[in-house]
C-alpha cells in the first residue's frame, strides 16, 4: 500500500467528471451491479472510490486498475448518491494518462484517431463487402481539422508521453 496523499480525493473531484467521488457513502451498490466485478475480483468500484477517498494515489493512478471499467453506466443509474463511479473512472484515467499510463489498446485507438480521424479503419475485407453492397468507401474524414483540434488540446503530446 502506498503512502496516503490526503488531497487526492479533491484532485479527482476537481478533474472533469470526478465530482461524484465527494458523494460516495461506500454502500457498494456499484460493485453489486457491475458486470466486470462479477468476473474480475480485482475490479471493485466501491473499493476504488474508497482508495480515492483514503488518498491512495499511486495505487489508483496505475497501469491497470482504472482500465477494467466498461463504461456501461449501470452504476450511474444504481448509485443512490449521484456518486457516479463510472464517471469518476474517466477522471482517474485522464489523470493516469497525464503520467503516461495508457494501455496499449487505447493508445492504438488514439494514434489511429490522430492519423485517420477515426479510431477504427476499414480493412480490405470490409472494403470489398462495402463495394458489393454499393456503399462505397468508408466516409471521408477531414483529418486536417481533427489534427488542428487535437494539437490545440495538446492531445498529440499526451499520447506521445507514453514510454
Amino acid at each position: 500500500m502506498s503512502h496516503p496523499e490526503a488531497h487526492f480525493m479533491h484532485e479527482v473531484a476537481n478533474t472533469p467528471r470526478g465530482r461524484g467521488v465527494l458523494a460516495c457513502i461506500q454502500c457498494g451498490r456499484c460493485t453489486s451491479s457491475c458486470p466486470v466485478s462479477r468476473v474480475v475480483e480485482e475490479h471493485n468500484p466501491r473499493k476504488l472510490m474508497e482508495m480515492i477517498i483514503l488518498g491512495l494515489r499511486s495505487d489508483v493512478i496505475s497501469e491497470h486498475l482504472p482500465w477494467y471499467c466498461l463504461s456501461c453506466f449501470t452504476c450511474l443509474d444504481r448509485c443512490p448518491q449521484g456518486g457516479d463511479v463510472g464517471e469518476v473512472t474517466f477522471a482517474i484515467r485522464n489523470l493516469a494518462v497525464t503520467e503516461g499510463k495508457i494501455p496499449e489498446g487505447v493508445l492504438t485507438q488514439a494514434m489511429s484517431l490522430f492519423e485517420n480521424g477515426r479510431v477504427v479503419t476499414t480493412g480490405k475485407m470490409a472494403l470489398i463487402q462495402r463495394e458489393k453492397f454499393g456503399l462505397g468507401k468508408e466516409p471521408a474524414v477531414n483529418v486536417e481539422a481533427v489534427q488542428k483540434i487535437l494539437r490545440k488540446t495538446h492531445f498529440d503530446k499526451l499520447v506521445s508521453k507514453v514510454k
Binding site: V39, C72, R130
Partner: protein, 293 residues
Amino acid sequence: MPMKYAFFAGCLVPAREPQYENSVQKIAPEFDIELVKMEGANCCAPFSIQSLDYTSWLALAARNLCIAENMGLKIVTLCNDCYESLLMTNTILKENKETRDKVNEILADVNLEFKGKTDVKIFTDVLYEDVGLEKVKNAIKRPLNGLRVAVQPGCHLTKPKRLHFGQQMGALALDELVEATGATSIPYERKEACCGGPLRGINDEVALSVAKQKLDSMKAAGVDSIVTVCPFCYLELDMGQIEIRRHLKEEYDLPVVSFAELLRIAMGMNLEDWEMRTHRIPITKILDIMEAR
C-alpha cells in the same frame, strides 16, 4: 416530403459491420427517411478517447454536432457509443456555458461554433418515434412468427437514465420494434447488462468473460437468435461466440443480427446468401428456423 437526417455512420459500423449499414440504407427509403451525408465528419470520440482527455472528447464530438447544425438537421447514429458520445456532449455544451465557451474557442480554429441547435438520435429511435410503430407494422410482409429473440439493447441506448429521461423508451421501444416484426422478445436474466465489447482490444479476457455471462443467460432462456443495435454488441456476441468456443469450450450457435437486418428480412426484402454469411454465425439460420416452423 422525406424526413431528413444528418447521417453519422461512425467508425465501427462501416469498418466492421457494413451489412448493418447496408440494411439501414435499404430500408430507409421505404419509410421515407433520407440519410444525408455529413461531409468530413470525424470519429465520435468514444469512451476510449474520453478516457484520455476530456476537452479533446468534447471538441471532437462538438465538431460533428456543428456539421449537423450547419446542415439544419438532427443527427442519426447507428452505434450506441456514437450515440452516447454525441448526446452527452450535446447535453453538456447546451447546459454549461463555461465549457461551451472553452470548446468554441477550440472550434474557432476550424471555423465552427457550437450553437446547440441539433439533436441526436439513434436509428431505432427514428423508427420508433418519427416513423412510428404502426408504419413499421404495416411494412411487414413476411412476419417472423415463432422466432424467439434475445434483444440485446446495449448500454448506451438507455444508460445513464438521466441522459434519456423523457427522450425515448430505450430497451422497451426496441422490444416493441422487434415484436412488430412478428418475432417474440424473450425475457432473460441480465438483459440490460453490458456485452463486454468496450474492453475488446484493451482486456480481451475480461471482455470475453462478460460476453459469456450474457450468452449463458440467453441460452438458458431458450432463444434462437440475438438482435442488436450496437456494433460493439454485435462483434462481441457474434465473433465472441467463436472465441468462447475456442478458449472456454462453450457452444451457443446463436445467429446475431442487427435490428435493421431483422426488419429488412421481415419486410420481405431479399438478402443475398453471401451477405447473410458475413456474420460469423450465418444468419441463414434465421431463415432455416422460419422455414422449419
